[in-house]
């Protein structure tokens, strides 16, 4: 099992999410983060004084998949997140030791992504 962690532009997320869902990878998390890199600071002008904002907002995308699926996930993320300009972000792949589905207590790779079985509606009741 691997965790793919990607720091991406906000606008790249929605096409990535749609393609991953299509490919059978609905389970992922995002976090609003701020970070610095080679992208320049933004200068805010406020009533005659300036303030340099060095940390830029990015999305942190986390997605745990079976090791064999990492290549596909990477390809989807790179396809949508790359604009060619400084500030596109970075992607990391980390090893994962265990996975547990909290609702049932099931363990292992079968809890990771889409699987045969019930669909669940928005309010949590089984459809």
């Amino acid at each position: 099992m691997k965790m793919v962690v990607a720091y991406i532009r906000h606008e790249a997320f929605e096409p990535i999410r749609a393609d991953l869902l299509e490919a059978g990878f609905p389970s992922l998390s995002i976090t609003e983060v701020k970070g610095s890199g080679r992208q320049k600071a933004i200068t805010e002008h406020y009533r005659g004084s300036d303030i340099a904002v060095h940390l830029r907002p990015k999305l942190k995308l986390e997605c745990v998949v079976e090791s064999k699926d990492v290549g596909l996930i990477k390809e989807v993320i790179l396809r949508h997140a790359r604009t060619g300009s400084v500030g596109d972000g970075k992607l990391f792949v980390l090893p994962v030791e265990e996975a547990v589905r909290i609702r049932t207590g099931e363990e292992g790779e079968l809890v990771l992504q889409a699987h045969e079985g019930e669909e669940v509606s928005l309010d949590g009741h089984r459809a």
Binding site: H45, R47, G48, S49, I51, T104, G105, G124
Partner: protein, 489 residues
């Protein structure tokens, strides 16, 4: 000071009322009707000025960081309420209770005769305005409250709440009433010097900003305002939309502030004053926006707002004294002054809302502008001073204006500095660095203005409720004892 053209209005009123008077001999007299009409306008204007409290609240809250947003609400309510009671009890009598050179002495707690003639001898302004004494008090009080609200703009995000309470009492019972007596209430600056200040560029705005300067000098800047190199850093306020709402509410309120200072509706002078006011405000916005664009190539939201306020502040003194054409000039100069004022003052003093520039410098400019642009016919109409430099070629009126500005500034600064010095020496003027860092909302009011921004959702839900508000189902088969923490049944 504000002599309403009652004589001109009477024939119209008489024409309208003649049939009614003929039918009901014991009905209201013409004087009663005129008085009621003027009283209605004064109360409407006073209500508009009262709403400026909302403008100051939103302006200051928008220019503050989110951690200080809630305090602005309770601050405005407290100051307004203290002033309401102190001005009724003491302030109004000092300001308008007689034509003494220094202060009035009649009518504490609005103890006023029910006979109009006697009331007018107690409060000479009633003789000119012919309105209800309660209306006059209420109208003058909301001016006092505006002036007090201006004081605190310089002190945002670091002053102790207790300082508001003490200074508000001194300000609304003593400082504002005495100065307003000198310039509005028949005191020495108005009568002996002939200083022109129609609605209070000096009396309301410069006084408020002067109190703010005294507080700021003893208070010091917010933490982090100046970098290690001593250069000012921007501490952006949390909501420019709230700033905009505040500015527009103030702009609206000014249509009570200046046109209401006619103290009556007859003669329709108030409509001309309203137009003059609007022209100056518009010119202030455009000038401030233009100057900032030339400096930074950006359309500065805060400066556009400051430009509007500066234009309004500047036209406050001359609004009853100048012709239409002078208004955009006065407003535009104020818009330029406020931008350079904010930028220069920012180098040494941390004034988060620009009150020293928008109310102080623009107030000085507005008061002086009477000495340049006052039309002789309007000086005569109001019965104060003479025409300005533009018309007369004489510096007399300009010098009178400058004297009034200097006296008002010096007196208010001296008293205010003493009061704030005493507060600092006894109970302290400033919150601790830890409280400032945490924000005045949690340290002074005990609650956040925007709780969800500071309290994580999990903490708001608290313990005791199952996830999603549903009762958890029994653990399904297959769940190990290690997960449930219990031995399988």
């Amino acid at each position: 000071m504000r002599r309403i053209a009652l004589a001109a209005a009477v024939p119209l009123g008489a024409f309208l009322l003649a049939p009614a008077a003929a039918l009901a001999q014991d009905g209201p007299t013409l004087d009663d009707t005129v008085s009621s009409l003027n009283t209605v306008w004064v109360i409407v204007a006073a209500v508009l000025v009262m709403f400026m409290q909302a403008g100051f609240a939103f302006l200051e809250i928008g220019f503050s960081r989110a951690k200080n947003a809630g305090l602005g609400v309770v601050k405005i309510l407290t100051n307004f309420s203290i002033a309401a009671i102190a001005y009724w009890a003491v302030g109004f009598a000092l300001a308008f209770g007689g034509a003494g050179e220094i202060a009035g002495t009649n009518g504490f707690f609005l103890d006023v005769s029910s006979l109009p003639a006697e009331a007018a001898s107690q409060f000479p302004l009633l003789d000119i305005a012919g309105i209800s004494p309660a209306a006059l008090l209420f109208f003058q009080f909301v001016f006092c409250a505006v002036s007090l609200a201006i004081v605190w703009g310089t002190t945002l995000e670091r002053i102790k709440f207790s300082a508001y309470v003490i200074y508000a009492i001194v300000f609304s019972a003593l400082i504002y009433p005495v100065i307003s007596h000198w310039i509005f209430g028949g005191g020495w600056l108005q009568v002996n010097v002939g200083m022109q200040d129609f609605a209070g560029s000096t009396v309301v705005h410069l006084i408020g900003a002067t109190g703010g300067l005294a507080a700021l000098l003893l208070l010091g800047p917010r933490r982090g305002k100046y970098g290690p190199d001593g250069k000012p850093r921007a501490i952006p306020g949390h909501s420019m939309p709230l700033v905009g709402l505040g500015v527009l509410i103030l702009w609206l309120g000014w249509f009570g502030f200046n046109p209401g200072s006619t103290l009556g509706a007859l003669g329709n002078r108030f409509a001309e004053v309203a137009l003059v006011t609007n022209l100056a405000a518009a010119a202030g916005v455009l000038a401030a926006l233009g100057v900032m664009y030339m400096r930074t190539k950006t359309y500065d939201v805060g400066m556009a707002g400051n430009g509007a306020i500066a234009g309004l502040v500047a036209i406050t003194a001359p609004s009853g004294y100048v012709e239409f054409w002078a208004a955009p000039i006065i407003g535009a100069v104020a818009g330029v002054i406020v931008v350079y004022g904010v930028i220069l003052i920012e180098k040494v003093l941390d004034d988060p809302v620009g009150a020293l520039s928008a109310h102080g410098l623009a107030g000085i400019w507005g008061t002086l502008s009477c000495g340049i642009f006052t039309a002789p016919r309007l000086a005569e109409f109001n019965g104060v001073g003479e025409g300005g430099l533009w018309y007369t070629g004489s510096f007399t009126q300009l010098a009178d204006q400058a004297l009034g500005v200097a006296v008002a500034f010096a007196c208010v600064f001296a008293v205010s500095y003493a009061v704030f010095y005493a507060i600092r020496a006894t109970i302290g003027l400033r919150v601790t660095p830890e409280e400032e860092e945490a924000g005045l909302d949690i340290s002074e009011t005990g609650m956040y203005g925007y709780p969800e921004q500071f309290i994580p959702p999990s903490e708001l839900i608290g313990p005791g409720l199952p996830a999603g508000g549903r009762v958890a189902e029994p653990a399904p088969a297959g769940v190990t004892a290690a997960v449930t923490g219990e031995a399988p049944a």
